[in-house]
Assembly symmetry: C2
Homo-oligomer: 400 residues x 2
């Protein structure tokens, strides 16, 4: 692996992301849309600058994970725990509807309806996989759009972020189920409950203990004589808690989010937020460009019968993906917020859906065409949301 | 490769570096000494937390390179080009003496004196390799010590940094010679001149063109609407120029240093410096901990005849390494500066010396014991300088 070439690739990704992000803003769209398009341009479909496999791809993946980790850490820092608790029941209801409905629709669509163009070995198992890919919201994309639009402190944003984090916890449970199915193992209720308990338990325990311990620890750290202690300890804490979350069976980004919530309770959180921003701004674009680079434009070519079948399945999945999450906006009828905005905010599917689809393809449960359709579904749900949210918030401002 | 475990390793390296850096400051030493000790503790000699080989080691290496790259970028940003030019002739003289003298002494010591305990195939070639390992100053270590002590703006610091950068250019020329020797190729004067011209030419051309183009470009960039453009474009420029330097046959850190010098001429350089600091503070400790982790304490065990021979050779190399660079402090008799401080500042040898030694070992020119001795020489020269510079600067303050 050539370090000089890798650094040149990082520089290229950063410059392209910022230039197209600026272009997106100039035509009235969120910058993240430009960063995603930058990824499509640099990815295998067009220029092939960002490799999809090999050692360099793995390195890019590490930096992308670091990017989404620091992004969730920043979101955690900006989160007001009390308001999050107040939004909690609504977030939980939105998340539950937004997981159950797309899952059920996806299962019914595949397992119970006929698909003459796509032969499938085990319709019921494939149906569960397809349902699973439709569940998890990509909190990274939505949070970035909300942040680009300066709407992170709206009630809608709080409900969306809360629901997206709950989605990730539910996603872990679903992941354990589909991994078990793919491995041919019997999936027990006890196993599902255990996965759920670990994911929720880690988050709750970390925040409870952390909110008590860390403010005291940071009051000591801030008295240290060495320079840059605050930023280094903060990032180390985010990295450490994210790793522990992952090793305990939860997810990296949940640990990073918890780390942010915990440090938002320190007396130094203003300085921390200010110094984390430049660090995050260097790695976060790598995540969005990577997401864009994984897009395969070749799937959109309707020349062959096979890709027409893929496009047909993708169309159905996209409808389910969008309607299922839009409906989630109406999942908490007692709470007061703009339901359409919350519904749209939950639409983007990200890497979690792709992970499910990939497990399904590798274990032979999902045919290649279905995998391609899932990819298309992730692409479309990711790309339609930034302009849609922008338009919806503009309407709020003009009082429509 | 497990990303969660890698992030946990990064967190461990960062926390250990800062805690031992603080301990070093509390006992009156520069923080970087503590970070190096943190590396020794985490490295293979003691705890074995930082691996020496394998995919995780390569990842750590990428982050360490990023750390030293951003460090040199920051040093470049703080460099006043006019004062650097004024110090130029003195730096050149110091660098030349500090390269020629240790090289000549190292060659004479190995090629012309008897070494009954260490059989060597080709004494003359081995002598050239040993001389080469004694030449290059580790600008990263010295700059960090000067910065820890708050002495970056002294005349001595300017001469040291300038000379250390020239050392790296000369080191590239020597590298091309020793690589040629190791491959058994004929080393031509034309080849040496070409390597030298590329290394110097890149630096001069980049700074000349960059100082004209970049201030104008950054005046445009700063008017962009997307957030964080300044820090992202600055870091991308540093990464890009470092890569281009390396691909053009110069070195990563020379390109990064040039990028810093170029951006120090922009109207936004205050903001750039302020935002680069948190980014650098996260990756630079990874470099210093890595350097510490490469230390093999087993070499210090005098139980076997073989390691006694290694210790003997190491003792001679350490004397040559220190005396040769101390003498360099007197290399510019016309200029006014504290010669002992400059001499001591040039003493640390870093990764460049190790690269030479590694090429020599792998091609069979250097016996294993000599490689061990070079490792010891690098360790000792790196660890003695921080306390020595601290003491010398304190004496200046008290007027001794």
């Amino acid at each position: 692996m050539d370090i000089a070439r890798f650094f040149l690739l990082l520089a290229t990704m950063l410059v392209t992301a910022k230039v197209l992000g600026e272009a997106a803003e100039r035509i009235g769209q969120p910058a993240v849309l430009g960063e995603l398009v930058a990824g499509v341009l640099l990815g295998g479909s067009v220029l092939g600058v960002v490799p999809a496999t090999g050692p360099t791809a793995q390195l890019v993946h590490v930096f992308a994970e670091l990017g989404v980790l620091l992004l969730l850490f920043e979101i955690g820092l900006e989160t007001d725990l009390k308001e999050m608790f107040r939004a909690g029941p609504a977030s939980l209801a939105v998340a539950t509807v937004g997981v159950v409905l797309p899952f059920a629709l996806g299962y019914v669509y595949w397992a119970l309806l006929p698909h003459p163009a796509v032969p499938t070995a085990d319709l019921a198992t494939a149906g569960i996989f397809i349902g699973a890919t439709l569940t998890a919201t990509s909190v990274g994309i939505t949070a970035r759009v909300l942040s680009d639009l300066g709407r992170m402190s709206t009630p809608e944003a709080r409900i969306i972020i809360g629901a997206a984090v709950i989605d990730d916890v539910l996603g872990l449970v679903i992941l354990s189920v589909v991994s078990g199915l793919a491995a041919g193992a019997a999936v027990t209720v006890l196993g599902i409950v255990r996965t759920f308990a670990v994911a929720v338990g880690f988050l709750v325990a970390a925040v409870l203990i952390g909110r008590f311990v860390m403010p005291r620890l940071f009051d000591i750290i801030v008295r240290m004589r060495t320079r840059n202690v605050l930023i280094v300890f903060s990032v180390a804490f985010a990295l450490g808690l994210a790793s522990l979350a992952s090793l305990a069976g939860s997810a990296l980004i949940i640990g990073a989010f918890a780390a942010g919530i915990i440090l938002s309770g320190t007396n130094q959180f203003d300085t921390i937020e200010q110094e984390v921003r430049p660090v995050g701004s260097i790695v976060a674009p790598i995540f969005f460009v990577s997401v864009g680079a994984s897009v395969n434009l070749g799937l959109l070519n309707p020349a062959t019968a096979e890709s027409r079948a893929t496009l047909g399945v993708a169309g159905a999945l996209i409808v389910i993906a969008i309607l299922g999450k839009l409906a989630a906006g109406w999942g908490a009828p007692w709470a007061r917020f703009r339901r359409l905005i919350v519904g749209v905010g939950m639409v983007p599917r990200g890497e979690v859906g792709l992970i499910f689809a990939d497990i399904g393809r590798r274990s032979g449960v999902l045919p290649d065409q279905v995998f391609g359709a899932v990819l298309l579904m992730v692409m479309v749900t990711t790309f339609v949301v930034p302009p849609a949210l922008k338009t919806l918030f503009s309407r709020v401002d003009t009082g429509e």
